[in-house]
Symmetry: C3
Subunit: 296 residues, 3 copies
């Protein structure tokens, strides 16, 4: 694997292989294996967790990490992204982890550069490492990616997390439902089950994955404020009672009081911390596969 | 020692142990001992010296350093400090070095997180690593923390450096005096000696430790401008003559021409460079103690 | 060699030695040799390529790199550059790589500090590592720094790159010409050949080195806009036809469509990528010489 743009590009075997490698790592793993390799973090959207997760994953493998901070660089002065990365490539940088508000950025870059490109989120399109870490988290719980029901709840339409997760889980034998205001559904996923509110979703699912809702989106919806949204789609403490096996996921950062009721973050059926931990391990596995490939 | 919030929490034995470990390090020390450990620098107030000092100290011990820059992160978008650090903890980060304008931040964080918390300054409350590095500097000169007189001069009321130093030196047999405009004294220290101006302080002390004065503070005082402040409380070249043994300290950054006369920074009785050097060594010792503890 | 301020300070032997060391490195080189050494990047002008080039070069040698970001530091609050670097020196930092808008900054700093100072650009004065990497690039092509003709084209007057390159190439047996609007020539170089437009320069040279033109400069010139500038001084695709051996250089970042026609960056006679690669190798060589010197 030279690049990672989307879940679509990965076969079930490749996904299983990445999850297997990830499951064999732990957070104390540290190695010099890839100390001659260099990776640049090129995040053109503000990010804490994804960027730090990749940084830690790369450093755990011994990779030299360059933090290219667009806010502080001359890219503001009009140099194009391609030219900037071409320069880094000429300096010996092997991998670029790219987050950009425009869909297709990672793929576009790969056509113009020799370095490996890892998509860490391109607009509302894809966020493949997130779907892989979520799959690892689900596999830890269920043993295999099959025979369980998950509902993805929130702003499906504008969520690269939803898109990547749906694509991944649909490759496996997982029953995926959606729960969202109608205006925030995506026609491409009209074949999936739909739950009108989270109470039903909780009763019909083994896992509910809530998404972050942007306040700006609500203004265009029938549920025009956060309290109405929370009432209908927010995961609340009572849901852990309503279904005694229900598991809660969220890609973060959580809008507590909107996406999820405050105080649930440490519930033993809240998997958010596992997702974060698995984020590092999964990104280590992804990088391992890419670095092994380009090492040839 | 899991956390370091304040001088108050440390026994004399613990202080002596930290100073002993620090005195055995030097600036060329470098090790891989803690390469599997991760530390985040979480500075919510602008800082150069303290942040860099911790960064260098950690790297000297082989610790992986994550620079979490609040200016550039999504914490601006409303994610809470606790949630952000919980995420880092889930990624395997072992220690957070925190500077924050609110008193008690470090202690509050420790009640909600498993990671070690190191207070690098919380409002006007505490700055324990500064007091420890000052103690190391004084011990280098006097052999022991006893039988000498020190005057702390400047804005005592708003200074976490003063507070931590007074607490530390009061545990030992050191004679501590204060010299400050009356409005900038702290009632909690009313049992200490008081010198009305720096000329007297210099004559009555072995060491004068000047503090940085904020211009905004002067407006509320009887000495309403920098030249009057400098005249009455600034350490001047003549003071090195007035007392041929007097030693000068300052936690930095110095307002030259206000706190201290310009040109004194390289005087052989000015200990500022020793303080900076000892800052790195002391923080190495603090980290060593914390990392050994959590390593169990 | 303790410091590097300018090309002027280097003998032909020293230049040859640096280029020789550089030519023996490659981009995969990685070593722990200097892991006890510390270097600070102190860039007071926005920069991507030079700063990252030094960062990668230093890390390849195992040097601990401190990124002192003035934008985010308390130097904004009035602490002087000298005091800040003195503090870093006291923390054990061995080398400062400094870029500053004022001419002579690097040299001034060296008179007040013990640490090594490496000039990464001081106003319109000098950029010695750029001239050395350009020399390495030319030596790779021509075998020796002699018996070829180069034209430097663009804003000579305000270019530290031009200044350092002219000084270096003039020490060797290289025929240097200039091509620029008359207002952007420098009287100090009036003994050099002059070409009135780039068509002639291309026909009379083996290499054309274009420089970045600042739009603000054009307003003071007879060629008051980018299209006229490009017409007369921009390197165009046709020039590769006009002289079948002509080589193109540019220190970057390129203003495509102004300095150089868009689309030429990957032409096999465009040396820009070689310059970038050689930037890392040359800076590794410079650092090696400095670190060996101060290691004594």
């Amino acid at each position: 694997m030279k690049n990672l743009f989307s879940i679509e590009q990965l076969s079930k075997n490749e996904i299983n292989e990445i999850l297997q490698i990830a499951s064999e790592y732990d957070l104390n793993f540290v190695s010099d294996e890839f100390r001659h390799k260099k990776l640049v973090l090129a995040f053109f959207e503000t990010s804490t967790r994804t960027k730090l997760s990749f940084e830690i994953a790369a450093k755990n493998l011994g990779v030299q990490v360059i933090d290219f901070m667009p806010e502080l660089s001359s890219i503001q002065k009009g140099e194009s992204l391609v030219e900037t990365l071409r320069t880094l490539e000429a300096m010996g940088v092997d991998v670029a982890v790219v987050r950009h508000r425009e869909e297709g950025t990672a793929k576009m870059l790969s056509t113009q550069l020799d370095m490996s490109i890892l998509n860490a989120g391109d607009g509302v399109n894809q966020h493949p490492s997130q779907a892989l870490l979520d799959a690892l988290t689900l596999k830890e719980v269920f043993g295999e990616l099959e025979d369980f029901k998950i509902t993805i709840c929130g702003d499906i339409l504008h969520s690269r997390v939803a898109r990547s997760n749906i694509e991944l889980l649909s490759k496996f034998n997982v029953d995926v439902s959606l729960c969202a205001p109608k205006e925030l559904l995506d026609n491409n996923f009209s074949s999936l089950n739909y739950h009108d509110n989270i109470d039903i979703a909780v009763q019909e699912s083994d896992v509910v994955m809530c998404l972050r809702i942007q306040k700006e989106r609500m203004e265009q919806m029938e549920v025009p404020n956060t309290s109405e949204y929370f009432e209908k789609y927010g995961f609340k403490k009572k849901h852990f009672e309503m279904n005694k096996d229900i598991l809660l996921m969220h890609p973060g950062p959580v809008n507590y009081g909107v996406d999820i009721e405050n105080g649930l973050q440490n519930h033993d059926r809240c998997l958010i911390n596992s997702q974060v931990k698995n984020g590092v391990l999964t990104r280590m596995a992804i990088l391992k596969k890419i670095l092994n490939y380009i090492g040839k």
